[in-house]
Symmetry: C2
C-alpha cells in the first residue's frame, strides 16, 4: 500500500528524548547542563547538517552581503538542504520563506523575536515572499482555550511580529482558524498530506498517545501545508516554488515529516535553517518561556523592568567574591547576560573585547549586566515605538488575501 | 482532563460486527441471512429506538400529512430523539435537515435515491432548510483517488441528487474539498469537535487502526460539523437550531459520536431517522452497490437494461416449477422484485393484493417481475428527464453560499 511505504523511514525520526539529559520536541525544550543543550549532538540525532564556516562563506558570496551575526555566531546553527536555496538564488530562480508562531496570551518575549529578526534579514537579502502562519488552532487543541480567544491571541501576536519590521508588500500573515476557511487550495493540500501519514508515523515522530484528541493527530498536516506553494494560489498562481523555513530546532519534526510527504507528492522538499534557543534569565538549562514572567524579558517590559530582571535574575558566570573574580575571571559559557549579548550585540569586535575582559576578571558581573541592560533596553524601546503604530488596520493589510509584489504568472 | 471524561461512554459504542452474521458500519454492510439484516437486532445493538405505529401516528398528527410509504412500511425504521423534532414542529419552532453522500465515480443507483426521496418529503412536510454534504474528502482519503477527481465525482453526484427534486430556495449543497475553504465557521467547529474526541474513542467507534492515515482519524469531525447550525452562519446567523438527520443506519456511528460531542459543547444533540438498505438484485444479503453493475439498477440505465437486469438477476422467491409455485406460492420475504415494490409502489392496497396473489401462487415470478419493471422504468425515466436539465449553472445555484428563504435573524 502506498501509505505504508515510508513507515520505516518516518519511524526512525522519533521524538527526541536525547540519550542523556536534553529534551527537544515541539512541546518541551530542556537540558540538565549549565551550558544548555548540546546542539552538536542534536544535529546528529535529528540528522540535519551543521552550518560551518564554508557554508557561511558561500552564503556571503551568493547574497553579496556579510552574514547576519546570528548566522556568524552559530545561533542559526543547523540546516537541511540550504545549498539548494543558495543554488536557486545564484541561478536567479525564485523561492519563498515560511515561518510561524504558536500564539500565546502573554506578550511575546525577546526570545520570540530572534527567528523573526533573522527571517526579516533573510527576506531582505534574498528579496523573496514571506509567509507567516499563526497556529491558533494548535493552541485551541493543546490548551484549555476557546476558539475565539485563540484567534485573538493570534491577532495580538501577529501585531508583535509585524513590529519587527516586515514589508507588507512581500509578507502574508494568516491564522489557521480564519484562513483555512478562506482558501480551498490550503484545505486540499491538508488532505493530500493527511493521506501520506499514518497514525503510527505521527506517533513515532511526535510522540502522540492513544488518549490524545484527534485534532492533535492531524495538526502536523496543517503546519506542513504552507511548505507547498500550491497552498497559496493567490500568491504563487500555478507556479511550484521551493521554500526555505527558518525556525527554532524544536519545530524540525514537523518538517522532517513534511520532507517525506513532499517526496511522496513529487513536490520540492522544504529547506530548513534552524536556530538555537535564547536561554531563560535563570540559566541555559531552560529556554526563555512566556509562562514564567521572571524568566523572560517581554517585548512590553518597561526599562525599569528590564533593568530589574537582568540585575536580579540573569544567571551570572562570575565568581562569588570580587577578589575571586579578579583572580579567576568570569565564565561566558554560562553567563546569561553575556549570552544575550551574543544574540543582540552586532559588533563582533566589541563582543570579543567584552568576552576577553570578563573572562580575565577585568570586567565584573555588575558591569557586564549594565552593558546588557544598555544594549537591550533601547532595542526594546525602538521596537515598542514601532509596535504602537500597528493598528488593526495595519494588521489587516498583512492578513489580506492578495498577490504580493512578485509576479509568478 | 476534560477530554477523557466521555471515554467510557464513547467506548461502549463500538464498531458493529454483530454477534452473528450481520456487519453494519460506514464501510461494510452485509448479512448471511437470505432475508437480509436483522434490523431489530441492529436497533438493540446501536441503542436507537424503533419507529412504531404510535410514533407514525404522532408523525401524521403533528404534520397533518399521511406518513410517507417508506415510513409506513418500516423502511425508515429507527430513530434517535425524533420526538424532540415533532415537539419543535408542533410548537412552531424551527429546525433543519442535514444529510449527505460519499460521492462515487459511477452513476448513482436506485438505492441511493431512497434517502433523498424521503428527505425531500421531510423537507416538504416540515418546510425547513436542508443541508447536503458531499464528502469528497472522505473518498480522497479512503480510496486511491486524486483530489480533483473526488471533487468532480461530488459535482456529478450532486446533480444526480438535485434531480430528485429539491427546492433551490430551501436547499444548500456543498462539497468539503471546496466548502471547508470558504467558511471559517465550519473549520472552527471542526476544531471544536476534534478537541472532544480522542484517538481511542475514534478507534472504538469506527474501528480505525494504527496504520490508518491521519486524515481518516479526523474525518468524523467533518461529518459531524454540519449537525451544528453554527457551521453555516450565512444561513442561520447566530441562531442555534436543532437538526434532524435522515440517513441509512450505517452512518449512525458518526452521529452517536456527534451526539456525545454536542453534549460536551452544550449544543442540541442531533435527532436521527434511519433507513434500511435497498437490497442488491442478487438478494438481501447485500445492499445494492455501485461497484457491481449487475447487482444494481442505475439512475442512468435504459428501459432495456432495467428490464434485462430484473429479469435476469432479481432473486426470486418463487418455486422451481410452475406446478410447485401454484401449489406452495412465492416467498415475499426473499423475493427482490417484491422488495423493490415495497420501496417504490406507493399504493398500499395494490401492494397487499400483489403480496397475496404471489404468496398464494396465483401470481408467477415472471408476472411479479413485469410489475416491478413497469413500476421502476417510468420512475427512472421521469428522473432522467429532470436530470437532463441539471446543468452546471443549475448546480451552482444549490452550491452558492447564501441565505435560504428562511429568516433566522
Amino acid at each position: 500500500m502506498a501509505q505504508t511505504q515510508n513507515i520505516e523511514r518516518l519511524n526512525n525520526l522519533t521524538i527526541n528524548e536525547m540519550d542523556d539529559e536534553d529534551v527537544v520536541d515541539p512541546w518541551t525544550v530542556s537540558s540538565k547542563s549549565k551550558t544548555g543543550l548540546d546542539y552538536d549532538k542534536l544535529i546528529k540525532r535529528f540528522g540535519s547538517s551543521k552550518i560551518d564556516d564554508e557554508l557561511i562563506a558561500r552564503f556571503e558570496k551568493v547574497t553579496g552581503q556579510p552574514a547576519h551575526h546570528l548566522l556568524r555566531r552559530g545561533i542559526f546553527f543547523s540546516h537541511r538542504d540550504l545549498h539548494n536555496i543558495l543554488n536557486l538564488h545564484e541561478a536567479g530562480k525564485p523561492f519563498y520563506l515560511y515561518t510561524g508562531r504558536g500564539p500565546s496570551s502573554d506578550s511575546m518575549h525577546i526570545g520570540h523575536m530572534i527567528p523573526f529578526m533573522f527571517t526579516k534579514w533573510l527576506q531582505e537579502v534574498f528579496d523573496v515572499p514571506l509567509i507567516i502562519q499563526m497556529t491558533d488552532d494548535e493552541k485551541a487543541l493543546w490548551r484549555d482555550i476557546k476558539i475565539e480567544d485563540a484567534m485573538q491571541m493570534a491577532y495580538n501576536n501577529a501585531k508583535d511580529i509585524i513590529a519587527v519590521g516586515f514589508d507588507v508588500e512581500k509578507t502574508f500573515i494568516f491564522n489557521n482558524l480564519d484562513f483555512i476557511g478562506r482558501c480551498p487550495a490550503f484545505y486540499q493540500n491538508m488532505v493530500r498530506i493527511q493521506k501520506c501519514v499514518t497514525y503510527n508515523q505521527a506517533k513515532g515522530i511526535f510522540g502522540f498517545g492513544d488518549s490524545d484528541v484527534i485534532g492533535k493527530i492531524t495538526f502536523p498536516s496543517i503546519e506542513a501545508a504552507p511548505a507547498f506553494s500550491s497552498s497559496f494560489p493567490f500568491i504563487f498562481g500555478k507556479k511550484i516554488l521551493p521554500v526555505l523555513i527558518p525556525c527554532a530546532i524544536d519545530q524540525d519534526p514537523y518538517f522532517r515529516m513534511t520532507r517525506d510527504v513532499a517526496a511522496r507528492l513529487k513536490l520540492p522538499k522544504p529547506s530548513l535553517i534552524h536556530s538555537t534557543f535564547l536561554p531563560a534569565l535563570q540559566g541555559a538549562q531552560q529556554k526563555m518561556s512566556a509562562s514564567d514572567p521572571n524568566a523572560s524579558i517581554f517585548l512590553n517590559d518597561t526599562p525599569k523592568q528590564i533593568k530589574n530582571k537582568i540585575n536580579k535574575y540573569a544567571f551570572s558566570g562570575g565568581q562569588d567574591t570580587v577578589e575571586e573574580h579578579r583572580e579567576k575571571g568570569g565564565n561566558t559559557e554560562v553567563d546569561i547576560s553575556y549570552k544575550y549579548l551574543t544574540f543582540f550585540l552586532e559588533d563582533d569586535a566589541r563582543l570579543a573585547q567584552i568576552k576577553k575582559s570578563y573572562e580575565s576578571g577585568d570586567m565584573l558581573t555588575g558591569e557586564l549586566k549594565k552593558i546588557a541592560i544598555e544594549l537591550i533596553t533601547p532595542i526594546i524601546q525602538r521596537y515598542q515605538e514601532r509596535r504602537a503604530k500597528i493598528t488593526d488596520e495595519v494588521m489587516q493589510q498583512y492578513f489580506a488575501i492578495r498577490k504580493l509584489k512578485y509576479n509568478y504568472d
